[in-house]
């Protein structure tokens, strides 16, 4: 299934450390490495995100940095860059050396001055400026005039000719053809990405370039050009840290790579003999704690209850392009994938919260997309991933949060008075409902009148679940149910979902970034990659299989598991 991959499996070479004999031979260089990171660790409020990370980077070397979302890549780069958030949360452990000197930047400007350039995933360009103007921004070529003598440097004028030339030469260095005069607002995304990189290399003395998923927005041919440019820059002596989820690119472009998982370097190796599958396995690995023995009880499911055909959803950052799947009655169906690949868009699209198209049949009847009422009326409920944004009325009491959807969509918890002239909230029934759920879900609160914003994340999540349960849904979408809540609460929430499925036979579609979570409670797991279904696997499938699908290294869409 993966003919395109290098099939050589290399043995476990262990972790390459600076003391490792093969370390200096990586590119045949023996001088002091440009960047050396020793035992770096970081904890946010007692939550450890980085643990004893050590590696080094030689001059002109390209290092691939891979890891799942939340593996600690961003934190590592934030430390390197001296982002204020690191210092505000108590600094970091370990040492970083640049050119043999220990560094600890207190803000990103110092990092820039020291010759570290960074290209972020989000474009930080000024749309109304041309490519050249963006490239030399804040370092513009200036011209002196008479007024400068009198009033000082602030009255210098721009030397537009030179700005254009500097911009053009920086672009040429990358080996791409972009008009230096073109406005950024008129550029395709690929050109924007190149403009950002050009800006970093135009700075005199840039020694180290950090590229954070630069190819995510590029087409294949553009990505190929970018990789080519990277090698060209490396040949000029600039070292590059390349962060990407596309493992094949890492293997193609980098000299070495390291894999981070749960804040630790789990693998460090040269790319000559690397294999996508092996890296994927290292990345996904085995999570601590969450996993538990699955109860295999020979689950039987009814007919297909929800069928989606060629669904597309225009949800910013989570675009769904073409997704088809079907879920059977009583099943817990998992949707996984890396952030930004579109897994969250599916539930939001079917629930009508973002523009969507395609066909969605629920119990044989079509759901009108773009209209939240249609799905709600059909008996579908949704626990949003955006708990505070969509899931809760933060300033209102718990009981109103729980009863709201049932009250609005099903006219429950209402009572008539004045001979049916006035219909209003049945506060007693709402209290009763709230009490019931506070008890059954063990929601920790003062009473049902407490405002939702005063509760902890886990308890807020339980309120969201209670709100969805209160409408007695036939099908329940749950998105990222355990995001941002602590480990104990995670288990409670997952148990609640499972229990609801077992007791009421509710079909559940759960979307999550955490693979182990999906594997622990789902009956089948679909992996979404670049807005499409990369494959549907049983939870018992090998982690490596999931890892491969996550990274889009292979398409196994035909591997639908029949049961």
């Amino acid at each position: 299934m993966a003919e395109s991959l290098k099939s050589v499996i290399i043995g476990d070479r262990g972790i390459l450390t600076p003391s490792h004999p093969s370390y200096t031979e990586v590119k045949g260089m023996t001088m002091e490495p440009l960047l050396r990171i020793e035992g770096v660790g970081k904890a946010y409020f007692g939550n450890r995100v980085l643990k004893d990370v050590s590696f080094s980077l030689a001059r002109g070397e390209i290092l691939g940095l891979v890891g799942e979302n939340g593996a600690g890549k961003s934190t590592l780069m934030n430390i390197l860059f001296g982002m204020p958030v690191i210092r505000e949360t108590g600094g970091f452990e370990g040492k970083i050396y640049l050119d043999g000197e220990e560094i600890a930047f207190s803000n990103p400007f110092e990092a820039l001055d020291a010759g570290i350039g960074m290209v972020h995933q989000e474009f930080s360009l000024i749309p109304g400026f041309s490519a050249a103007e963006n490239i030399v921004l804040n370092r513009e070529s200036m011209r002196n005039n008479l007024l400068v003598e009198v009033f000082g440097d602030r009255l210098r004028t721009l030397d537009r000719g030179d700005i254009f030339l500097r911009g053009r030469s920086a672009i040429e260095k990358l080996g791409v053809s972009i008009d230096a005069d073109m406005l950024v607002s008129e550029m395709p995304v690929g050109h924007k990405q190149f403009t950002e990189i050009a800006r970093e290399i135009e700075k005199a003395g840039t020694k180290l370039l950090v590229l954070d998923e630069p190819t995510a927005v590029l087409t294949e041919s553009e990505a190929a050009i970018l990789l080519e440019s990277m090698r060209r820059l490396a040949a000029e002596g600039i070292s590059i840290i390349f962060i990407s989820h596309r493992l094949q690119e890492v293997i193609d472009a980098c000299d070495r790579f390291i894999v981070l998982r749960d804040g630790e370097v789990v693998k460090e190796s040269g790319t000559e003999q690397a294999d996508v599958r092996e890296i994927a396995t290292a990345m996904v690995g085995r999570k601590m704690g969450v996993e538990e023995a699955r109860e295999e009880e020979g689950r039987a499911f009814g007919e297909a209850v929800l069928t989606a055909e060629q669904l597309w959803v225009d949800m910013p950052g989570e675009t769904v392009r073409d997704v088809s799947f079907s879920v059977r009655r009583g099943e817990i169906f998992g949707i996984g994938g890396l952030a930004g690949q579109g897994k969250l868009g599916i539930a939001n699209g079917i629930m009508g919260l973002f523009p969507a198209g395609g066909t969605v049949l629920f119990e044989g009847k079509p759901i009108t997309l773009d209209d939240p009422r249609s799905a709600l009326r059909a008996g579908i409920a949704f626990v949003s991933e955006d708990r505070r944004g969509v899931g809760l009325l933060l300033e209102e009491p718990i009981k109103l949060n729980i009863a709201f959807t049932a009250l609005q969509m099903q006219d429950r918890f209402l009572k008539k008075s004045l001979g049916g002239f006035l219909t209003w909230r049945d506060e007693a029934a709402i209290d009763e409902l709230a009490r019931e759920y506070i008890e059954s879900l063990a929601i920790k609160c003062v009473d049902a009148d407490q405002r939702a914003q005063e509760l902890s994340g886990g308890n807020q999540q339980k309120i969201c679940l209670a709100k969805a349960f209160a409408v007695r849904p036939k099908l329940l979408f749950v998105s990222e149910p355990t995001r941002g809540i602590d480990v104990g609460a995670k288990k409670l929430v997952l148990d609640t979902i499972r229990r609801h499925n077992r007791e009421y036979g509710t079909t559940i579609i759960m979307t999550s970034s955490e693979l182990e979570e999906l594997r622990s409670i789902c009956d089948r797991v679909a992996v979404i990659q670049e807005g499409r279904v990369a494959g549907i696997l049983p939870p018992t499938a090998d982690r490596a299989e999931f890892g491969m699908l996550f990274l889009g290294a292979s398409k196994v869409s035909e591997k639908e598991v029949a049961s």
Binding site: L353, R373, L392, F404, T423, W424, R425
Partner: protein, 348 residues
């Protein structure tokens, strides 16, 4: 001490400061020979007169449309009701009820259009609302001249047509509410029982509305539109309903105001009417997206209390007639103060 601090925090510093200031004015009044009973009487009357107009802020704030700076539009609906009732020569309660009955359909109609407009400018409601108010006043300046009202007490004497700027309702339904069960304590202090009861009734209706299904949905739209949409609520419809309610309450409010004041003020009369109401509800502790009836009651009382007391007390202190100047300084100063509170809430 701890309790006191908690109480102050709960009530909010602005209200504590203003309440203390108001209390000082009441204490100081007898010393500068301002009659205390007259002061209390005036404050109660102004509280009742303006109450419903302040209440007209609540539905729009609750649905997330911001403060109703377009209140003049509702007031115009009320004015149409009032002059039509006069044209029909209706007096007493019948005249008052007829004025409201005629004003409400106008209010619903205007509110519907106004609501539709506000749905197109989400995020900039308050700015647009201000101009809706201003331009509707300007338009009506023409219409008051052109509308075919003929009642001699209302039209310009020399032309026999075109409504006058100030029309007395004394002969028709002036004071029908204020004098209803009015209690006279002295020549200077009489409690406008009927008017206060009517204000109470209006508050009760609004309170009841916010406990119905639609009212609950409206609150949700204002608190978190995304939540409301995910629960299948038509946001634009809720917003339109809230604007219609606010406009109708504005219409009813001005009729209550007129029957107590004794005059209908046309032309530029409604122009600045929105600002005192906005200031009152903000002083009462409302934010741009959350207002309760408590905010209305406290805010109206404090604002109107200060507005009644400051000019008379300070006037007597200075021994000159500056009451109008002081009134303008105080009322606009309070509006300014209240609006800085808005900025505070926004930037929190």
């Amino acid at each position: 001490m701890q309790k006191l601090r908690a109480l102050i925090h709960h009530v909010g510093w602005p209200r504590v400061i203003i309440a203390v200031f108001l209390l000082c004015l009441f204490v100081a009044a007898p010393f500068v020979r301002v009659r205390l009973d007259a002061s209390i009487g005036d404050t109660l009357v102004r509280f009742g007169m303006n109450g419903v107009l302040v209440l007209a802020m609540v539905p729009m704030v609750q649905s997330g449309c911001g403060l109703n700076f377009g209140l003049p539009l509702g007031i115009i609906a009320g004015l149409l009701g009032a002059v039509t009732s006069l044209e029909l020569n209706l007096t007493g309660f019948a005249g008052f009820v007829a004025a409201i009955a005629i004003a409400v359909p106008f209010g619903l109609l205007f509110g519907w259009g106004y609501g539709r407009l506000l749905n197109k400018v989400k995020g900039g409601e308050m700015m647009i609302a201000t101009y809706v108010g201003f331009s509707s006043v300007a338009f009506m300046c023409m219409m008051w001249l052109l509308l075919p009202y003929r009642n001699p007490t209302m039209v310009w004497g020399y032309a026999g047509k075109g409504l006058r700027t100030t029309i007395s309702v004394q002969e028709y339904w002036g004071g029908v509410l204020s004098d209803f069960f009015g209690i006279r304590f002295s020549d200077f202090l009489s409690v406008p029982t009927g008017m206060l009861l009517f204000f109470g009734l209006m508050c009760l209706l609004v309170w009841a509305f916010f406990h119905t299904k639609t009212g609950t949905a409206m609150t949700a739209v204002g608190t978190n539109p995304d939540f409301a949409r995910a629960s299948g609520i038509d946001i634009d419809r809720m917003r339109t309903i809230s604007v219609m309610m606010s406009t109708v309450l504005g219409a009813v409010g001005i009729i209550v105001y007129e029957q107590s004041f004794g005059f209908i003020q046309l032309y530029m009369g409604p122009f600045f009417m929105a600002f005192p109401s906005v200031a009152a509800i903000l002083i009462g502790g409302a934010s741009v997206h959350k207002a309760t009836l408590t905010n209305v009651l406290i805010g109206t009382f404090l604002f109107q209390g200060i507005l009644t007391m400051t000019p008379s007390v300070i006037n007597s202190m200075l021994q000159t007639d500056m009451s109008e100047v002081i009134r303008i300084i105080v009322s606009n100063g309070m509006i300014l103060y209240a609006l800085t509170r808005v900025a505070r809430v926004n930037s929190k």
